[in-house]
Amino acid sequence: MHPFRTPSALAATLLALGLLQTATAAELVVYSSRNEQLIKPAFDAYTAKTGTTIRFVSDKEGALIERLKAEGDKTPADLLITVDAGNLWQATSEGVLAKIDSPALTANVPAHLRDPDGRWYGLTIRARTIVYNPQTVKPAQLSSYEDLADPKWKGKLCLRTSKKVYNQSLVATMIARLGAEKTEQVVKGWVANLATDPFSSDNQAIEAVAAGQCDVTIVNTYYFANLKTKNPALSAELFWANQGSSGVHVNVSGAGITRHAPHRAEAQRFLEWLSGDEAQTLFANLNFEFPTKAGIAAAALPLSWGPFKQDDVNLAEAGRLQAEAVKLMDRAGYR
C-alpha cells in the first residue's frame, strides 16, 4: 500500500523550500531568545541599511544553547541573542561563544555590562526595582531590596516566582555583594513577608499591588511602563531601590558571536552596529528598556522616573552565581 504518496510529495516540497532558503548567500543567522517583536525591527533596519538579510529562530535560551552544542562546527548560527546575564554566562561556560576584540564594542558597552573576556555584550539594560501602591506606602518608607525582608512588611510583599531568571540574577548579585549567608537571611525575610503565593509574571505582581492585595513588589521597569501606558490611572508607582547603597540591580539583553559562526566578520559588523547609536535609539523606544550606550536617551516614560544609580557588579558574576542563587532560594523556601 502507498497511503503516504501525496503527503510525502507535499512534505518534500516544504523540505525543498527550506533547503532553498539555506542556499541563499549574504546573510546572517541569529538564534534568539528575544521575541520577534522586540528584535525584528532592528534586523529590518540593518537589512535596509546594508542589504544583509537576517534569518532567525526564537526559542528558550537553554534549548538554543543545547542546539548550538549539538550542531558544533556545523551550526548555521552566527549570533546568539538572549536576555539575562545568567544565560549569557551559561553560553560562555558551555563554550558556544567566541571571543571578540572590538574597540567599537568596548567603547559602546560599559564594562560591567559585558563579558570580561569579550564573549558577549549587553545591548539593552533592564532594571529590576521596587513598585509600590501610593495609597498605602509613602516613598520615604522604602529604601532597599534588603529592607523588604524587614518584619514591618509582613503580609505586604508580592513577588514573582523564583523560577524566573530575573529573580535568580537579582539574588546572585546580592550573593556577590553580601555573601550567601546574609543573602539567605534576606530571602527568608521576603518569604516570611509574602502576602500571597509568588506570581508567575511581573504583570500579575504589579496588578496585585495596584488592587491592594499587597503593598510592594520587585519587578522589571519595562513591565511597569507597559502597564502604566495602558492604564495611566494604575495605582502603582516606581521607586529606585538601593540608591543609598549598591544601586539598582540591572541586567541586560545581550549578544555574542558563536564559536563556529560561518560569517564571523559580518556578524561582528552587525554586533557593533547593534551597540551603536542607531540601534540603541531603536531599542530604547521598543520596550521601555534603557540603552547600554552612554548618551542615548531612554523613552519618555522611563526618563520621567529620573536618573538612577546602577549596581556595577559585573554581570558575569551574576551568571557565575546563578545556580547558587537557585539553591539558596530553594533552601529559603522561595517558590
Binding site: A11, G18, K60, G62, S93, K163, D197, A211
Partner: protein
C-alpha cells in the same frame, strides 16, 4: 484501550518470513522513539551528585508529593467527569442532550495553559471578578484563591476531561445494552448497573482516556508554570535552566518515564485475562430518561462544564483580541494558520499510519520483540515536551552529521537534511503522539474479529487487499478519531515545534509563545483564539463522524 494494552495472540503468522517482516517493521518504527529516550537515559552517564544532593535536601520530597497529588486529583476528576458526562450523553436522555453530546468535546481544542491563564486573570485577587465584588461589597477576598491546589486541579480537569469523555463515550455507545439489562434483571438499579456492568466493560476506554490525561498532566509545563505550582516537570526545567544541569534534568526525566512504564505495566497486570469486547449488538434508542429535576441537574452539569471549560475562556480571548484590534491579522496570520493545519494534518497521517502498522504487527506477529517495540513506541507522550525535544534534537543532529560525512564521501550535499526541516518536526510529532493515536487505533483493531480476517482469507483476499477491503473499512472510524486527536495535539504543541522548526517557519503556537514569554497575554489572545478555532475544525469533524455512526 490502554496505551500499552497488548492483545492476546490472534491470527499469528508463526515464525515465517512474513513474521520477520512484521518484527522488522515494528522495530523500525520504535527506533525513532528509542533513540531520544536513550539519549535522555544517557544522562545517567554524567554524574552530578551536587545537584542531586541539593534536590534531595530541599525540594524533591515536596514536589514528589505535589506531583502525586496532582496525578491523583486530576486523574480522579477527569475519570469521574469524563466517564460521567460520557454516560449521560451516551445512555441517558435529558433536556439538551443531543447538543451537549457534541458540545462537550469542544474543550479539547483549548490548550490547558490558555485555560489556566484566563482562569487566573479572571478570578485572582486583582482580576475583574474580584475587583467588581470588592466594588460592590467592600474590601476583602470574595472568592477562594484560584492560585491554589484546588484551582489547578479544576483547570487541568476541565482541560483534560475530553480525552476520557471522547473515548468513554464511544465505548458506552458501542457497548451492548444487553449487559446493562442483564445487570438490571439481576437486581441492580440504573446507577448500580452503570457502575457494575457498563463501567467495567468500558474500563479499557476509560483507562486509555485517563492515561492520556495523566501523561499530559505529568508532561505539562505551561499550566503548572502559570500557577507557579512545583511538580516533577518544573523541577526538570529548573534543573536545566536554573541549575544549568542538563544531565540531572534528563536523569529526573528518565525517572518520570520509569514511573509511567511501571504504572502502565501494573494496570495491564491487574486486568488479567478478562476481555472487554462488547456483549451483544449495540442498541440505540433505549436511554434512561431523566425526568424533572434530575434531567435539569444533568443539563446544568453539562452547561456548567461547558461554560467554565470553553465559553468563558473563549469569550475572554475574544474580548482581548477585539480590545487589541485586529491589526495583527495580516498575511502572516494566514501563513501561520496554514502552516499549523498543514503540519497537523501531515503529522496525523504519518502518526496514525505508524500506529496502525504497529497495531497490525502486534496481531500478526505477537512476539516479545514486537510487543516491546509497541510499548516503546507509545512512551513519548509522558515526557515533558522540551526534554523530549532536546533528546530528539541531539539524535537528529547526530544522524545529520553521519549523513553529512556520507555526503562528503559520496560528493553529495547532504548537510542538515533532517535538522531544521519539516521532517524533523514530523518525526518529533510522531515520537510524541503515537501514544495518542495508539488508543483509538488499537481499540478499533480489537473490534476486527479474527473470524472476519479468516473469512476474507478463505475467500482468497490477502495482503494489501485484506488491508484495503477488510481492515480499512472496519477501522475507518477509529483511524479518523486517532488522526483528529493527533491533529489537535500537534496544533497545540509548543516545545518541539520551537526547537526543531525550519527558519522562518511559524505556527500559531509559536506566536503564542513569543507573546506570552514577556507576559503579554492580551497580545497572545488573537493567535490563541485562532489556535482554538483551528483546533475546533478537527473536533467538529470528530463530532460529525460520531453523529454519522449508527447511533
Amino acid at each position: 484501550m490502554n496505551a500499552l494494552a497488548l492483545p492476546a495472540p490472534a491470527g499469528a503468522d508463526a515464525a515465517s518470513s512474513h513474521g520477520r517482516r512484521w518484527t522488522l517493521l515494528a522495530v523500525a518504527l520504535a527506533v525513532p522513539v528509542a533513540l531520544p529516550l536513550l539519549v535522555i537515559a544517557g544522562g545517567w552517564l554524567q554524574h552530578d551528585p551536587a545537584t542531586w544532593a541539593h534536590l534531595l535536601d530541599t525540594v524533591l520530597a515536596e514536589l514528589l508529593l505535589n506531583t502525586a497529588f496532582l496525578l491523583l486529583s486530576v486523574g480522579t476528576a477527569v475519570t469521574v467527569l469524563g466517564a460521567g458526562l460520557a454516560w449521560l450523553s451516551a445512555a441517558c436522555e435529558f433536556p439538551g442532550r443531543r447538543h451537549f453530546d457534541w458540545l462537550l468535546m469542544l474543550p479539547l481544542a483549548l490548550p490547558a495553559y490558555v485555560l489556566a491563564f484566563v482562569a487566573i486573570d479572571l478570578l485572582d485577587f486583582a482580576g475583574p471578578v474580584q475587583s467588581t465584588l470588592r466594588a460592590w461589597f467592600g474590601p476583602g477576598r470574595w472568592l477562594p484563591p484560584i492560585r491554589s491546589r484546588g484551582g489547578i486541579v479544576l483547570v487541568m480537569s476541565l482541560a483534560l476531561y475530553p480525552y476520557v469523555y471522547l473515548l468513554a463515550r464511544s465505548a458506552f455507545l458501542a457497548q451492548g445494552a444487553r449487559a446493562l439489562e442483564a445487570a438490571r434483571s439481576l437486581g441492580c438499579g440504573p446507577w448500580r448497573a452503570f457502575l457494575r456492568a457498563a463501567v467495567p466493560v468500558a474500563r479499557p476506554a476509560i483507562i486509555a482516556g485517563t492515561t492520556l490525561a495523566l501523561m499530559e498532566t505529568l508532561a505539562d509545563f505551561g499550566t503548572v508554570a502559570v500557577f507557579n505550582f512545583d511538580t516533577f516537570t518544573t523541577a526538570i526545567y529548573k534543573t536545566w535552566f536554573g541549575l544549568f544541569s542538563l544531565p540531572a534534568a534528563t536523569q529526573l526525566a528518565s525517572l518520570l518515564l520509569l514511573s509511567v512504564v511501571l504504572a502502565l505495566g501494573a494496570e495491564r497486570a491487574l486486568r488479567g485475562r478478562a476481555r472487554y469486547a462488547a456483549a451483544g449488538r449495540a442498541q440505540g434508542g433505549e436511554r434512561i430518561v431523566l425526568r424533572g429535576v434530575r434531567g435539569w441537574l444533568a443539563s446544568g452539569l453539562c452547561s456548567g462544564v461547558l461554560a467554565l471549560g470553553f465559553v468563558l475562556p473563549l469569550s475572554r480571548l475574544l474580548y482581548w483580541a477585539l480590545e487589541r484590534g485586529l491589526a495583527d491579522l495580516d498575511a502572516r496570520y494566514l501563513e501561520r494558520l496554514l502552516n499549523t493545519l498543514g503540519l497537523g494534518a501531515l503529522a496525523a497521517l504519518l502518526t496514525v499510519g505508524a500506529a496502525l502498522l504497529l497495531a497490525l504487527a502486534v496481531r500478526r506477529q505477537p512476539s516479545l520483540t514486537v510487543r516491546l517495540a509497541v510499548r516503546l513506541a507509545t512512551l513519548g507522550y509522558a515526557l515533558p515536551g522540551s526534554v523530549l525535544a532536546v533528546g530528539l534534537m541531539i539524535t537528529l543532529t547526530w544522524v545529520d552529521r553521519r549523513l553529512g560525512e556520507l555526503g562528503d564521501w559520496l560528493g553529495l550535499p547532504l548537510d542538515a537534511v533532517l535538522r531544521g526541516s519539516v521532517w524533523a518536526l514530523l518525526i518529533a510529532y510522531g515520537v510524541r503522539f503515537t501514544a495518542a493515536a495508539w488508543g483509538p487505533v488499537d481499540a478499533a483493531c480489537e473490534r476486527v474479529r479474527p473470524s472476519l480476517i479468516e473469512a476474507a482469507r478463505g475467500l482468497g483476499v490477502h495482503g494489501s487487499g485484506l488491508l484495503r477491503r477488510v481492515y480499512l473499512p472496519l477501522l475507518r472510524p477509529g483511524l479518523l478519531a486517532a488522526a483528529l486527536l493527533v491533529l489537535v495535539d500537534v496544533v497545540k504543541e509548543m516545545p518541539a515545534t520551537l526547537l526543531l522548526r525550519p527558519f522562518g517557519f511559524d505556527t500559531l503556537a509559536i506566536r503564542i509563545y513569543e507573546m506570552t514569554a514577556e507576559g503579554d497575554w492580551a497580545g497572545a489572545a488573537l493567535p490563541a483564539l485562532t489556535l482554538v478555532l483551528a483546533g475546533l475544525l478537527p473536533v467538529i469533524l470528530l463530532v460529525c463522524r460520531s453523529a454519522a455512526s449508527p447511533h
